[in-house]
Symmetry: C2
Subunit: 372 residues, 2 copies
Amino acid sequence: MRAMSFAPLRNDTFLKACLRQATPHTPLWLMRQAGRYLPEYRATRARAGSFMGLATNPQYATEVTLQPLERYDLDAAILFSDILTVPDAMGLGLTFAEGEGPRFAHPLRDEAAVAALQVPDLEKLRYVFDAVTSIRHALQGRVPLIGFSGSPWTLACYMVEGAGSSDDWRRAKSFMYTRPDLMHRILDINARSVAAYLNAQIEAGAQAVMVFDSWGGALSDGAFQAFSLDYTRQVLSQLKREHDGAVIPRIVFTKGGGLWLKAMEQLDCDVLGVDWTVNLAQARALVGGSKALQGNLDPAVLFASPEAVAAEARRVLDDFGTPHTGAGTGPTQVFNLGHGISQHTPPDNVSALVDAVHAHSKRMRLEAPQRG
Amino acid sequence: MRAMSFAPLRNDTFLKACLRQATPHTPLWLMRQAGRYLPEYRATRARAGSFMGLATNPQYATEVTLQPLERYDLDAAILFSDILTVPDAMGLGLTFAEGEGPRFAHPLRDEAAVAALQVPDLEKLRYVFDAVTSIRHALQGRVPLIGFSGSPWTLACYMVEGAGSSDDWRRAKSFMYTRPDLMHRILDINARSVAAYLNAQIEAGAQAVMVFDSWGGALSDGAFQAFSLDYTRQVLSQLKREHDGAVIPRIVFTKGGGLWLKAMEQLDCDVLGVDWTVNLAQARALVGGSKALQGNLDPAVLFASPEAVAAEARRVLDDFGTPHTGAGTGPTQVFNLGHGISQHTPPDNVSALVDAVHAHSKRMRLEAPQRG
C-alpha cells in the first residue's frame, strides 16, 4: 500500500475549506507559485537546461514545487508541470523555444489529423505521476498536494492553434465554427484523456485536483456551455471521488467565466475558482450554498507596496465575508490570485500577502458572531 | 448654421433603436467596419503612406469611412480615427511602427510627467472634427454618423504603458496600485479631455457618440468602479445632450464588463455595448428597461461559412428576443460584434451577416404579437 508510506497531513486547512468545512484561518496558495518570480526557481531551471527539462524530471519538479513553501507559509502545494503535457503525449510534438513560449510541431488543422487523435498512452506521462509521488513524499505531510490539468477546451485551443498564446484564438474558434463536428471529436478525446490523467495523478498521491479552463472565457455565451462546460462535466463524471479513504476535492477555474457561475454550480466539483472581475459577495450569494470559492486577487496588486498588497488582501477577504465557522458545512473561501503570479512580482510582496491573509482571516473569525 | 447644410437623414433606424424606439428591422453596424479586412481600405492606406497619414487627413478619413457602406447595407457609419489621437494631442508623441502597433515617445511614468499633463488644445485635433464634417456631408443623409473616444481609463492604459496593447497592462495597473493619486489625476484630465473632444465631434456633425472602454474589463471588481466607471460617468455629465434640435444618443461599451451591467445602468447614456460572453436575454431582463443593448456576435464567427454566419446572427437576435414594437419606448437592440472586426475576415461573410440580421429581424417583428 503506497499511500501508507505517505506522512500524515499536518495542515488540512486547504482540504477542509475545499469541502466547505470550518478552518481557523482562510487557507491560501497561488497559481503558478513555483515559478520565475523566485530566484531559486530560475537557478534550478538554469541547471535543468530548459522548461521541459525541468518539467519532465521528477527530481527537479519536486525541488521547484517545494521552493515557495520554504519561503512562505502557504497552505497547499501544486504539482509543477505544464498543461501541454497531455497533447504532447498525444504526439503533437511540444517544444518551448526560448522567449517564444510553447509550440506544437503537429497542430490539428485538418480532418485527417483529428481522425488520428487518440487518448494517449499514460506511460508517456509517467514522469508526471512519478513527480507527484516524489513531491508527496518530500512534503512530509506539511500541506496537501494539488494535481491539475488543462480543461478539454483549453487544451484544444493550443492543439488547434499550434503555438503558445493567442489574443483571439482565431484558428481554434474558426475551426470550432467551421467544423464543430471535428471540434467535438477533439473535445471528447480530450475529456477522456484529462480524466485518465487526473485519476493517475490521484493514484500517485495528489490530494486534490484542479481543472484549468484558462480559455473558456474566450467563448461566447452558448458556445461556452457546449464546447467547454459540457466537456469539463464529462471529465468530472469520470474522476475518482475518493482515494485511500480520503475525499479528493475538485476545483474548476474558468478564467473570465464569472458570468457563468450559476451554470457552473451544476458541476460535480467542490470549488469554483473566480478571477478578480468577480464580486465575491455576489458570487457567495449565488453559489456559496453548494461550492467553496477560490480567488481572486488581481496579480497586478503584487506590484504595489507591501502595505497596499496587505490592504487589498484584506479587502478581498472582506468582500467574501466571514466564512462558515462551527460544525457541518457552509460558505468557505480558498484565497488565491485570479490568475497565475507574474514573473515580475517582487518576492517580498508575497510574504506581505501571506501574512495579511492569515492574520486578517483569523481576526475575522474571532470577531464573527459565534455560530453552531 | 452649418447643420442646415447637412442632408436630411434617410435611415434613422440606428438612432431610434439607440433611444429604445421601434424600428422595422434591427439596425446594425460593426466596430472597426472601415478597416483592413477590406481591400479598398488597404489601397487607400497604401496611398496615404501610413496609418496616421490616413487618420489625420479628412479626405482619406472620409473615403475609408464610406467604403463599408458602399459594400454593405449598414445602418450607421462611424468616424474613421484612432482612440490615441487625444493623448497624442496632449503631447505624448504617438507613432505607429509598421507591424508593431502604436507607441508613445513620452509615456507617463513619473510624477513630473503626470504634473505636466493637461487637457489638450482642441485645435490640435481639428483634423478629427474636419473629418467628421466632411464625412457627414459625404454621407448625404444615408445613415447617421457615430463619433467616438476611448474612455478615460482605456486612454490611461496606453498613456502609462507607452506601447500598443499589453496582455496584462502591468505598468498601468502597477501605477494604479502604487500611486492611485497620480492615476486619479490622469483620469480626471482624461475625462475632461474626452468630454471636450466628443462635444467638438457633436458640433462638427456627429449624430451619436460612443465611449470605448476597451480595457475596463481588465480591472478588478471595485477598481473598475473607481478607476473606469466613475470617469466615464464624469465624461457623460459634461456631454451635450442635444445639438441642432436632435438628441445625441450615447453608447458606452466596456469590453469584458458583463458582470457590471447593473452598475452601468446608472450611467447617463442610452446604449450599453456588451461582448459575446453576455447572455442577451439576461442582459435585457437586467437593464433593458432603461437601456438599449448593442452587440454581441463573436467576431470569430465571421471566419466560418456564410451559412454558419447567418445561423449565428439569427441566434444572437433570438437571444435578445423580439424588440419593442409600437409607440413609446421599450427594449431594443443595435446589432454589432462584441469587438472590432478582424482583419482576417472574408468580406463576403459580412454580406451574409448583414442580410441575415435584416431579414431575420424583420421576420421576428412580423411574427411577434402586436402591441401598443
